[in-house]
């Protein structure tokens, strides 16, 4: 008898992004409709462990999560040592589509959280026909900056500050074990990577003038935000949804900015019915 083994498989796929060779790490579990999950800024695909080990999801969905370049086990591209990492709307969109094409996924569902929630809106604006459904967690077209990003990457402040900054973005009801596991991922982020992701979030990825173009008849859009998320507040999500006919908003009780990893048991109460509806439509 062997010890319990999670039904998650990790591999690497070779993809060219921005004209440069990348080797992206991804994990997957389950069979069925492809469901591509996008991690938050400064973290990696481990945030979706709860979903990948939930039979109610993996019985019907092939859940995939890739680490963005420079994150988790996806190393930076050759030559990285003399450049500053910066995520942009363009590079992020290219990475997602590149991953989906590399794995030949047929009209996947994409679920993204935080920066992943923001880019899902861009996928809805520019590439809706490629996707079966889009799910934005902690998503809004814009958030007002609430601290100076320079604190995240400087020699007199340890990179642990990235975790300390986001620690309060989780609900106090979330279990300690999963809160601190979520924070550990932040503590493991490479130097300047969280800051570089926030370039997309704060500077480059303002979608306020564009979300009105989203056509939810082409691709359904679901937006779910935790009540304790003070970075992307439920009001931010509601304001965004107001401009998008047919977008569905759910405010999640006792959850914050990292619903899938800070409290998987609470999150599944909200995500399972939505996944079920996507399955029914298919």
């Amino acid at each position: 008898m062997t010890a319990p083994i999670d039904p998650i498989i990790g591999r690497y796929v070779h993809v060219t992004l921005g004209g440069r060779a990348h080797r992206l790490y991804f994990e997957e579990a389950g069979r069925g409709i492809p469901l591509v999950c996008l991690h938050t800024a400064g973290a990696d695909g481990r945030q979706f462990r709860g979903m990948m080990t939930d039979g109610a999801i993996t019985d019907h969905f092939r859940v995939l999560a890739f680490d963005l370049p420079w994150h988790g086990k996806s190393s930076p591209p050759e030559g990285w040592q003399r450049e500053e990492y910066r995520l942009t709307t363009r590079s992020y969109t290219e990475a997602i589509r590149g991953f989906c094409m590399a794995l030949d996924l047929e009209r996947p569902v994409v679920l993204g959280c935080s920066i992943g929630g923001r880019i899902v809106l861009n996928l809805a604006i520019e590439h809706a026909a490629e996707f079966r459904a889009l799910i934005g967690l902690e998503a809004a077209d814009y958030q007002a900056p609430w601290y100076d990003r320079d604190w995240l990457y400087r020699p007199d402040v340890h990179g642990e500050v990235s975790a300390a900054l986001v620690s309060g973005m989780m609900a106090p009801q979330s279990p300690d074990a999963s809160r601190w596991e979520t924070l550990w991922h932040y503590m493991q982020g490479g130097p300047g990577i969280f800051k570089g992701d926030l370039y997309f979030y704060r500077v480059d990825g303002d979608l306020r003038d564009r979300v009105g173009k989203i056509d939810t008849k082409l691709c359904p859009l679901y937006l779910l935000t935790g009540e304790y998320d003070f970075s992307c507040t439920p009001e931010d999500t509601a304001r965004t949804a107001k401009q998008i006919a047919g977008a569905e908003v759910t405010v999640m009780k006792e959850l914050g900015h990292f619903p899938m990893s800070e409290n998987p048991a609470q999150f599944r109460r909200y995500i399972l019915p939505i996944l079920e509806r996507i399955r029914q439509r298919t």
Partner: protein, 139 residues
């Protein structure tokens, strides 16, 4: 004059709560260990009443009610009484559960030299939230 003094005194429940901070912090060896590189004075304002917190290598050496004219500090945390009361509830409501959440909402101002605050952010969040322990604020 006497009336004005009464009007500006912080509520007794808040004073009681804040004044337990040193014992709670100093009685938590891991929290003190986390702050082992921190030696400085900070200012905490409950409404209009200043309190001075002296930290020495992670231990709270003193918590004194001011005003103390010409007393210097590295950084200051200022909030109205009601904001502190919410912050110190056992299960605080959204936007009051975290110092930075309060700051984003405008319920807390964080001023001064923020380098030690940011370099020890986990430590300071836990020190300031310490009065939340032991049952939380009565509301």
């Amino acid at each position: 004059m006497a009336q004005e003094a009464i009007g500006t005194a912080p509520a007794a429940d808040l004073v009681e709560r804040l004044e337990r901070m040193p014992a709670l912090v100093n009685g938590d060896p891991w929290l003190v260990e986390r702050g082992r590189f921190v030696t400085l004075d900070i200012l905490i304002e409950l409404g209009r009443i200043p309190y001075y917190l002296a930290v020495e290598r992670g231990r709270i050496a003193a918590l004194e009610r001011g005003p103390k004219p010409l007393h210097s500090w590295r950084f200051a945390l200022r909030a109205e009484e009601d904001a502190w009361r919410r912050h110190w509830e056992k299960m605080p409501p959204p936007h009051y559960h975290d110092l930075l959440a309060m700051a984003k909402r405008g319920a807390l101002s964080i001023e001064g030299d923020l380098q030690p605050f940011m370099a020890n952010l986990f430590y300071f969040k836990e020190v300031i939230a310490a009065p939340r322990r032991n049952g939380g604020a009565a509301r």
